[in-house]
């Protein structure tokens, strides 16, 4: 069980923000790709159909090199268990006892897994790929169906970012999207700070704002620094929904503005807020855990109707990817959105993403610990095209 959150003793050092061993082969990084999407994928041999694990370069039945990552059945049977009580690894050491098992997967191979407390040898299990604090894909063996205690399993919680009991900053509360994110997170048990740029300017919903309003203008370094000085030490999750989506072929000033509100806004968060989160990234069950960025799918596959926004979101995306290793153990969640149902996308036909859709998708990603999500049919479709063949998708 996870104890309720209590004020921490300010005289104690936080538990160090360590990560489990992060070294992996290139092939094994495929596990992280699948885990980031919430899928259970392993290498399957194109020639003989064998499912291979651990990840490798050639099939261990027919030796051909045609191994392809595919979704595979998630069932298995536990064959052995242990409880590690003494670990050599600085990350695991304070987290023992830690359950480990061996599982014979229904799809063939045997895997060493993180073993849920309720499982014993002979039991059926459901396998899932999760991102650990090193950002690598690891296999968790769970009970066949969800149990009430699962969200509080300590090992599993290391791979998720459940907002319950945590403090979240939603960076742009001036839009219905930001306000819905805040309401949804509060309903999920979080405490929310709602960032407001130029709060003296009227905006919809200003009379019934959820959460605690804070003045935050991410296009202004000074404003970001002041806000961070006030709350960064208390924030566990940042949901950055500030971004520019203006259409058309703008002048250079507009292009600059798009960069300010999207790329440089994220850069300011990284500079002023993220070090304080990262330092508390290992601090118990309510550790600081995630930086969510809501980005246009046009940042991945540029949209000719939105050239400046495409460039600004691509810049933000590249920055997040580049920061990923240095910000561990935090999760860097990218929520790719299709057109939002807002003023910037008036000219586009449906389907568009509603505030409720975005909020629910972000909450789910946090609860599952997924780093790569697509929100809305168009973003999902575009992402699927990109996964299939990025080069063709970019050309079209």
């Amino acid at each position: 069980m996870i104890p309720p959150r209590r004020p921490r003793n300010p005289t104690l050092l936080p538990q160090a923000a360590l990560a489990p061993p992060a070294l992996r082969s290139r092939q094994a990084t495929g596990l992280a790709v699948a885990a980031a999407q919430g899928r259970f994928m392993l290498q399957v041999c194109d020639d003989c159909g064998r499912t291979c694990y651990p990840p490798r370069e050639a099939c261990n039945v027919c030796l051909c090199a045609n191994l392809r990552w595919r979704d595979v059945p998630t069932g298995g049977v536990v064959s052995a268990q242990t409880t590690v009580r003494i670990s050599m690894d600085p990350y695991f050491r304070p987290r023992t006892p830690w359950r480990v098992g061996t599982v014979r997967l229904d799809c063939g191979p045997d895997a060493v897994v993180h073993l849920h407390a309720s499982l014993a040898p002979g039991d059926r299990t459901r396998l899932t790929l999760k991102l650990d604090k090193a950002g690598q894909g690891v296999i968790f063996a769970l009970p066949p169906s969800d149990t009430p205690d699962m969200p509080t399993d300590q090992a599993l919680r290391e791979t998720t970012c459940d907002p319950r009991g945590r403090r979240v900053l939603v960076t742009d509360g001036r839009t219905p999207f930001g306000q819905d994110l805040a309401r949804t997170l509060i309903a999920a048990g979080a405490e929310v700070f709602l960032g407001l740029a130029a709060p003296w300017h009227p905006f919809p919903g200003q009379d019934s704002l959820p959460g605690t309003p804070v003045t935050l203008d991410l296009t202004d370094s000074r404003s970001t620094e002041i806000c961070a000085a006030a709350i960064a030490g208390r924030v566990d999750i940042i949901v950055n929904n500030a971004g520019d989506f203006r259409p058309g072929h703008p002048g250079l000033d507009d292009a600059r503005l798009a960069m300010e509100t999207t790329y440089l806004a994220a850069a300011r968060l990284a500079k002023y807020f993220l070090p304080a989160l990262q330092a508390r990234g290992g601090d118990g069950p309510y550790a600081a855990c995630a930086w969510v960025n809501v980005l246009s799918i046009a940042g991945l596959v540029p949209d000719p109707a939105y050239p400046s926004a495409s460039a600004a979101h691509a810049a933000a995306l590249a920055q997040i990817q580049a920061l990923r290793p240095s910000l561990r153990p935090l999760k860097l969640i990218t929520a790719f959105v299709g057109p939002l149902d807002d003023q910037w996308h008036q000219a586009l036909p449906p389907p568009k993403v509603s505030p409720a859709q975005l909020a629910s998708a972000v909450l789910t990603a946090l609860r599952n610990g997924q780093e790569d999500i697509a929100v809305g049919d168009l973003a999902r479709h575009t992402l699927a095209l990109w996964h299939d063949n990025a080069a063709i998708t970019l050309r079209r």
């Binding site: 268990q81 242990t82 590690v84 009580r85 670990s87 023992t96 895997a111 060493v112 690891v138």
Partner: protein
């Protein structure tokens, strides 16, 4: 039927006394072992025209770099990265080289150093599959990997921790008579059973203690040994097998069963003809697998065998004469030689502790390399007194 090992002998067993931590590199430990061989056999470095070396802690070096390091110019060289199977496999390779005339005198040596925290680094980077798929899971290291095997084996056979404890207690009794053993305090079954859990069901006294050390022997023709005036033991049979039974969900057997009939046929003997059994003993469950795989008892019946026999040097079934790695310490790849060198000492009647009276044949078994979820290398040799 493949060719036998007629005329091949093993001589000059050398153990460089182990240390818990060493300020010297693996090169230094292997160098001391080779020097020990030269002194024991009255040879000059140039007489070693073959070398077969094993180590985990040479950094960027292999056996190749060691030739320059030690000023050797062998015409036959092998590097055997097989951990606990290194000694057995080295004997096979060296014997064939001598039989074929590729080398006259082969130095087989293994050695490793140990510094605080160096074992963790060895484990963390042990193999690609370990890095990708076992180290990130709790990092219990070999303790956790063998705990999974032990858990499955206990469920499968009904063997108890007390049975494993009998093995460990008997080996400690042997170690108390072996001058180089690092762990020589008395160990009782009660102490074994009440020790703290490390990774269930593996407890403290199931684990070996990493240390620095080196072991070595010479392999040559019987005639060469006679010319040099060396005492020797005959190599009568040898087997090795890698990645046996890959479809087993958990390792409940090693590769010995696939080949042990051939081993006994080569040596013209049976398990009943073995007077000393030297198993690879990291961890006790692997000893059980060897008792079964090498035909000393039926699969799943090691527990009955252990209960029925006294495994001490002076017992009815002498086993791991030096106390094994469980009591003498695990000096990295030298752990793959510890049973071999002491078996040769017993067979040529130069023991460091008590002599097993009338010993004619010893079986030395090797097991190594938990590449992912199981040990991949298994092998065994039968040695006979001259």
């Amino acid at each position: 039927m493949r060719q036998g090992y007629e005329g091949i002998v093993v001589a000059a067993p050398v153990t460089v006394p182990y240390e818990r931590y060493s300020i010297h590199g693996a090169h230094g430990w292997i160098g001391r072992a080779l020097h020990g061989l030269l002194r024991a056999a009255g040879l000059k470095p140039a007489d070693l025209d073959g070398a077969c070396l094993s180590s985990f802690t040479l950094g960027a070096d292999t056996a190749v770099g060691l030739t320059q390091h030690f000023g050797l110019s062998p015409r036959w060289l092998d590097h055997i990265p097989m951990g606990g199977a290194a000694g057995v496999v080295a004997l096979r390779r060296a014997a064939r080289a001598v039989q074929a005339g590729d080398a006259r005198i082969v130095a087989c040596a293994a050695g490793d150093t140990n510094a605080p925290d160096s074992f963790r680094h060895t484990v963390a980077g042990f193999s690609r599959f370990a890095i990708d798929a076992s180290v990130p899971y709790g990092s219990g290291g070999p303790n956790a990997a063998f705990a999974l095997l032990t858990d499955a084996y206990m469920r499968h056979t009904g063997i108890t921790r007390a049975d494993f404890g009998r093995i460990c207690v008997a080996q400690r009794a042997n170690a108390r008579q072996f001058p180089h053993a690092l762990l020589r305090q008395p160990l009782s079954l009660d102490q074994y059973l009440s020790a703290r859990m490390v990774s269930d069901p593996i407890a403290l006294f199931d684990c070996v203690m990493p240390c620095a050390g080196a072991e070595a022997v010479l392999v040559m023709h019987e005639a060469t040994a006679r010319d040099l005036g060396l005492a020797y033991a005959h190599l009568r049979g040898a087997i090795e097998r890698h990645n046996a039974y890959p479809e087993d969900p958990v390792q409940l057997r090693g590769g010995w069963a696939m080949d042990c009939a051939e081993l006994y046929a080569q040596a013209a003997t049976t398990p009943a003809g073995i007077g000393l059994l030297q198993t690879y003993d990291d961890y006790p469950v692997i000893i059980a697998l060897q008792l079964e795989g090498l035909g000393f008892c039926a699969p799943g019946e090691a527990k009955d065998f252990i209960r029925a026999h006294d495994l001490r040097l002076e017992g009815d079934f002498p086993h791991n004469s030096s106390g094994g790695q469980l009591s003498a310490g695990q000096a990295g790849a030298a752990g793959g030689y510890i049973g071999l060198t002491d078996a040769v000492r017993q067979l040529i009647r130069t023991p460091l502790g008590p002599q097993i009276p009338g010993l004619q044949r010893a079986l030395v078994s090797g097991f190594g390399m938990i590449n992912y979820d199981r040990g991949l290398c298994s092998g065994a040799v039968i040695l006979e007194a001259a």
